[in-house]
């Protein structure tokens, strides 16, 4: 008799969602997390009285999260104290000037129209188009598996309205933005969001252009930090008998005759189960934890071909003053073409950009309890290539951090450099070490079309019986709602097939 009905490897968003849902099915579930905290990229750590979010900074498109909690017999709002963020962005241009987009579509239209009346009208066009797309596709996309062409056909058969949006799959993000907006300033406000899919505007798929609209349906911050979301799932799971072990790393998955038998821990302990749910990056899972000798040759070829998503540098900064920012999220941006040039000329060449362009998250704007009284927290994300040209990350990380802080202190956050009380830095190498994200990938695998849907590693493994995948490297992809959706999808597949 197996030790457990199901073993979940990794307590990132996908795994910590799947675990409780499987426990709800009456299974005896063990979740194994290699680090000292649950949540993966959706986690929070404390240093000297300041609380810093590891990676994810807000949650949006919350319908899959609500669906998961509903299946557990509760609601997202009951389990997590969510605070709505408004404005959704403060955009900081290269000259230090700012434009804020409020939550409301109409309010944003007013702001855009004050810069370009024509683009103000186009904003309503874009909003209507993507509101329609979200109505037609979000539930189907986030709650249904996309393992095979038949899954996709079933999705379309149930939601034929999806077909109207097919052109977005063969257009680039840039094509979509340029179709709607002609003013350079307005284009800049829409240019960075392609990097939420880990790609520059000219390579990201067109459907990612949903993001500048979808955030207006709400972005929320959980009081107490992003870790409150995985903690809520953990609470639900433990009430149902789910067991979770921290600081417990899985060394390999036991497979015989293409069927899982359990896992072996780093210390050699074997734990048996006929069902293994992996929240580990799919490349790492199949090539390292399972071993390519267990895979059919075609699957092996496919898995080896995957590109991991982009990596980043995160600065976690404690401040003894209130930074001169105007929103929970600020973006330091530049011209759309510059975002593309940065990708080809800097990121792909192993260089950090000269200017700091990225996301500044100010969580104490929403939740002052994250820092000592009168103090504040900033989590700053800048793009950082894993393979650096020149000296490695361990050698240069503090120099890079200093350069970013000084750069931001000049225009975006005047005075910041003189008020830093705590500084912690995570480079792509640190993300790889701490979270086991290969090459520090923050979104699992690349999110472009040849890595999406039926071409993304399947939630129900096609090679190994009893193996299911969750997390950023399976469908729907990277990001908090997607990873949680993957846990929901895996649990439903298991309920159907096991």
């Amino acid at each position: 008799m197996a030790d457990y009905d199901a073993i979940v490897i990794g307590a990132g968003c996908g795994g910590i969602t799947a675990g409780p849902l499987l426990a709800k099915q009456g299974r005896k579930v063990l979740v194994l997390e290699q680090s000292e905290r649950i949540g993966g990229c959706c986690s929070t750590f404390e240093k000297e009285g300041y609380n810093f979010d590891v990676g994810a900074s807000i949650v949006e498109v919350i319908s899959p999260v609500e669906a998961a909690f509903k299946q557990l017999g509760t609601t997202f709002q009951e389990e997590v104290d969510l605070m709505l963020c408004d404005p959704i962005y403060s955009y900081i241009f290269e000259d230090g000037s700012r434009v804020n987009f409020p939550l409301s579509i109409e309010g944003t239209a007013e702001v855009i129209s004050s810069i370009s009346p024509e683009d103000g009208k186009q904003w309503f066009e874009l909003a209507d188009y993507f509101a329609d797309m979200m109505n037609q596709t979000i539930e189907a996309f986030f709650t249904n598996p996309s393992n095979t062409i038949f899954d996709s056909m079933k999705m379309v058969a149930k939601n034929p309205g999806i077909l109207r949006f097919l052109p977005l799959f063969v257009k680039s993000y840039q094509d979509v933005i340029l179709k709607y907006f002609k003013n350079d300033i307005i284009q800049q406000t829409m240019s960075f969001q392609s990097f939420y899919a880990g790609l520059p505007p000219e390579l990201a798929p067109g459907f990612i252009a949903l993001i500048p609209y979808s955030e207006h349906e709400g972005i929320w911050y959980p009081r107490g930090g992003m870790i409150q979301i995985p903690k809520a799932f953990q609470r639900c799971g433990e009430k149902l008998g789910m067991e979770i072990r921290l600081n417990t790393k899985v060394d390999r998955v036991m497979v015989r005759d293409r069927k899982v038998e359990g896992v072996v821990l780093e210390d050699g302990t074997e734990i048996t189960s006929d069902l293994v749910v992996s929240n580990v990056n799919a490349k790492t899972l199949y090539l390292d934890l399972i071993g390519e000798q267990h895979l059919p040759w075609l699957a092996r070829f496919g898995i080896k071909s995957y590109e991991v998503s982009m990596s980043c540098v995160m600065l976690y900064i404690g401040l003894d003053y209130k930074p001169p920012l105007e929103a929970h999220h600020s973006l330091t941006i530049g011209p759309l073409e510059m975002m593309n040039e940065f990708w080809w000329n800097d990121f792909k060449q192993g260089r950090m950009p000269e200017d700091v362009h990225g996301l500044i998250c100010w969580p104490t704007e929403s939740d002052p309890s994250l820092a000592p009284e009168g103090h504040h927290v900033l989590n700053i994300m800048g793009m950082g290539p894993y393979d650096l040209a020149g000296p490695g990350w361990d050698e240069v990380k503090m120099h890079v951090a200093e350069k970013m802080i000084n750069g931001l202190s000049e225009t975006a956050i005047p005075g910041m450099a003189d008020h830093v009380t705590v500084l912690e830095v995570s480079t792509p190498l640190d993300f790889e070490r701490r979270l086991l994200n290969p090459k520090g990938a923050i979104y699992g695998l690349s999110m472009d079309l040849p890595n999406q849907s039926v071409f993304r590693p399947a939630a129900k493994s096609k090679s190994i019986k009893g193996l299911y995948l969750t997390g950023a490297s399976t469908h729907p992809g990277g990001g908090v709602p997607s990873a949680i959706a993957s846990g929901l999808i895996a649990s439903r597949l298991i309920d159907k097939h096991e």
Binding site: I303, S305, D448, P450, S463
Partner: protein, 54 residues
């Protein structure tokens, strides 16, 4: 009947060439950004069958 078959046999490769020529011409007229987008997708095309079975 065999004359018709022979004709079809000759036309098919010509038709194929014509389609390729049209596609290449269209591609050459695209801006550099769109070319990069298409190249980025096209270079991954050989991996799609393997990824489908992943």
């Amino acid at each position: 009947m065999s004359k018709k078959k022979g004709k079809t046999k000759r036309i098919k490769p010509l038709l194929g060439l014509a389609i390729v020529a049209v596609l290449v011409t269209q591609y050459m007229q695209l801006d550099e950004s769109k070319k990069r987008f298409i190249k980025h997708l096209a270079k991954q095309a050989p991996y799609l069958p393997g990824r489908y079975y992943a």
